[in-house]
């Protein structure tokens, strides 16, 4: 089945720094999503981005479907950005989301 690999697995930033998180998939996926899981366990939708580029405030994401990867950019990081970032997508007509293992981000003041 499709594998989704996220990198880096862990990241520590100083407040104000920028970062790029990557999601590689072994085959074509549809409906790629990025989520932020906060320290209380809530999964928050960041982007629904099957292809192209989207921006929302300090966050932006780019998916290059033909090359099977997606990037999440965090600029001017804040302590509230801490948590785990997941990417997930599904393949073909299968609605089941295949998840990466996540990137654990800690932003220090």
């Amino acid at each position: 089945g499709i594998q989704v690999e996220q990198s880096p697995p862990d990241l520590i930033l100083q407040e104000g720094a920028n970062s790029t998180l990557r999601c590689n998939f072994s085959d074509s996926v549809n409906n790629l999503q990025w989520f932020h899981q906060n320290p209380w366990g809530q999964l928050i939708n960041l982007f629904y981005i099957p292809s192209g580029t989207k921006q929302n405030g300090r966050l932006s994401a780019t998916t290059v479907a033909t090359e099977r990867y997606s990037l999440l950019y965090i600029s001017s990081s804040q302590t509230t950005d801490s948590g785990v970032y997941f990417c997930a997508g599904n393949a073909g007509n299968n609605r089941k989301l295949i998840w990466g293992l996540g990137t654990s981000l800690a932003v220090n003041p």
Partner: protein, 112 residues
Amino acid sequence: EAGVAQSPRYKIIEKRQSVAFWCNPISGHATLYWYQQILGQGPKLLIQFQNNGVVDDSQLPKDRFSAERLKGVDSTLKIQPAKLEDSAVYLCASSQLLGEQFFGPGTRLTVL
């Protein structure tokens, strides 16, 4: 627009007891999902409904877990009897058919 609602938020039970979780999806969302998330891992799909029919329950431990969505709207997930390894966060999500999935706040289950 109201999000996905779940209750309870927290539950502590002893092993071999029963527990039930409730989920109300976003209005108009035909597809409803139950996930289990063990600490440090990504969510694992337990069961997926489209309206009131089961689309995928291949990873549901059917000897102890059951779920229903009788009227195609809200859903319940039950564990009977619970084991220690069932301690996890149970997440409900909904989507319009093949689209973007939205998650509820989850129920954190501790089995002692």
